[in-house]
């Protein structure tokens, strides 16, 4: 009887003391919550969304066609921003706002295209190297070191120029925006080593984790282990690398175009800078507009990558 009396009081406080728990959310949702709290990452997301929206909707909203040079015909080129041309006109009469807006889809095409190529090649090669190991791994790693030592930017310039000459008189010449495509492909080809390196490191690390060992023990097939266990865990750092790479590729194309090796028939921010650099000191808006666009885009992707890094690898942060 006394025992009962003592039992009852314990039961009640115990039940109150233990809080009810919701089932824990999955890894991706947790990462999203953490990302939301990261100010830098959210700003990056906003900027990138802005650029994407500009690329998708902008062209429908601008007042002038990007190749409209009518301003030059009535002597209105190199005009400062006004009510007629919101960002002014450039050296040959183009509307600066229009050219800047139309530069967005080009930039995104460059960034996404280059990183797509780099990712496919890099993940395949890095994955094989990391999972198979041995001589294959060694050979692949030496190859990546080779690519990393070559002065990438400088070689791209040379190849673009020489390719342009070689192609004269061949059927390839008639491919639209060939120059731009060449640049995208080259950027992708030079970016894959860093993707491969990272993929390899992740595969190596994950291959040795206990949960993969456990999966092997219970007889999971190699393919299943790759697809269901290793790949999803290797994804986060890959996403971060891709975000950074997109920004980097856009910047690289801008620099190539700025030096005059770009595609004169494409509308890109680097091209705009190339056309208008000579009149920088008398008509700064012609260069500041595309310049600001490049900055905002690259900053956006960098901040996004930073926020994603934090979201995927939380560190204890107090206060």
């Amino acid at each position: 009887m006394d025992a009962d009396l003592i039992e009852a009081p314990i039961a009640a406080p115990l039940a109150e003391a233990l809080p009810t728990r919701r089932p824990p959310s999955g890894v991706w949702r947790q990462s999203w919550y953490r990302f939301r709290r990261n100010r830098a990452g959210m700003i990056g997301l906003v900027l990138v969304t802005l650029v994407v929206l500009t690329a998708l909707i902008g062209p429908w909203l601008v007042a002038y066609a990007p190749d409209d040079q009518s301003a030059m015909l009535h002597g209105a080129s190199r005009q400062a921003p006004s009510a007629v041309h919101w960002l002014g006109t450039d050296r040959v009469g183009y509307d600066v706002l229009s050219r800047t807006v139309y530069g967005a889809p080009t930039a995104l095409a460059v960034g996404l295209g280059a990183m797509l190529i780099a990712s496919i090649i890099g993940v395949v090669i890095g994955g094989i190297a990391g999972y198979v190991g041995g001589l294959v791994d060694e050979a692949l790693m030496r190859m990546t070191e080779f690519f990393m030592v070559v002065p990438v930017f400088v070689v791209i310039l040379a190849v673009v120029r020489l390719f342009g000459i070689v192609v004269v008189g061949t059927p390839l010449e008639r491919v639209p925006n060939l120059n731009l495509i060449t640049i995208i492909v080259l950027l992708g080809l030079f970016e894959w080593p860093s993707v491969a390196r990272m993929t390899r490191a992740e595969f190596l690390r994950l291959r040795q984790t206990e949960f993969v060992e456990a999966a092997l023990c219970i007889g999971t097939s190699r393919r299943d282990i790759l697809v269901r266990h290793i790949l999803p865990n290797a994804l986060p750092p890959l996403i971060v690398l891709v975000a950074l790479g997109i920004g980097g590729a856009i910047l690289a194309e801008a620099m190539v175009a700025f030096l005059g090796f770009g595609d004169p028939r494409s509308i890109s921010w680097g091209q705009a800078l190339f056309f208008n650099y000579q009149i920088l000191q008398v008509a700064p808006w012609t260069c500041l507009a595309p310049g600001a666009a490049i900055f905002v885009t690259v900053l956006g992707f960098n901040l996004l990558a930073d926020g994603l890094t934090d979201a995927f690898n939380p560190r204890v942060r107090a206060g």
């Binding site: 003592i6 009081p9 314990i10 009640a12 406080p13 115990l14 109150e16 003391a17 233990l18 809080p19 942060r317 107090a318 206060g319």
Partner: protein, 342 residues
Amino acid sequence: MLSIPVSAQDKPLLAVEGLRVQFPTRDGVVRAVDGVDFHVGAGETLGIVGESGSGKTVTSLSLLRLAPPPARITAGRVVFEGEDLVSTTPARLVAIRGRRMAMIFQNPATSLNPVLSIGRQLSEILRWHTGIGRKPALDRAAELLRLVGIGDPAARLKQYPHELSGGMKQRVGIARALLCEPALLLADEPTTALDVTIQAQILDLLAELRTRLSMSMILVTHDMGVVARMADRITVMYAGRVCETAAASTIFDAPLHPYTRALLESVPRIDHSYSGARRVLPSIAGRPPDLLHPPAGCRFHARCPEAVPDCARIMPREISVGPGHTVSCIRRGSPAETELAA
């Protein structure tokens, strides 16, 4: 609020009174140490025992004000050799650390600087505290290496930490702490990261050294076997508060606090036969409380086999139940503590 009668012989070397340490975090304030009292006499070894999260490591670090930011000491005093370290100047702290009070750490692999030689790390401390030259400092360092049982000290001084074994690194850590012959040594889980055979050696070494140098020691651990061997007195902590303090023999033979009893029962013993049909090892049900939102009343009440409804409301105050024996439990006679605003 010190309610423990001070021992008749002399004032304690170290007296901790009402210590509170908090960590402000994004989700609230973590009250890691919430009103802790204990003292250590000259030449005495105090064992502080508790589970992970009991606040024992934060307590020991806070004695020298080394708890990592954003930790803050929000109340209490740490009176060492007559001086309150909580309110003293940084200059005094720097003079006391490593000289009068020193510390050895849990993980020997990470507590030595990997890019500096052993000799450099040891002599630097000596030279800073005593101003002696490079050669005499290295000689003294070699002497100490010999004292802690490291052979060929001259060669060791030139080596780097990664060239030493775990046991040797821990001996170097001990030598580093003893360079200036401190009055009090703080040992935070000194053997947890070592092999069992090496553990015994290190404990023997510590026992020998404290006698030889007439040193007091605070031994923080979760291992009852370690305190059984080394401690004169034991303080049991749970969730940031002290449950019970007594002489070692009393704790083991006649523990009073329900937590102490549960703790001792859960230690597997060869000479016990675990009765019952399933032969299950006894453990304490439940989980330690969330220190962000600690429960009202006694911290242990949710897991306590002797809890009554009052336990959930009343925070027990320490009460003396015998010579040098204090308990915080209303079922052992503790009165209620009026919570000080923290």
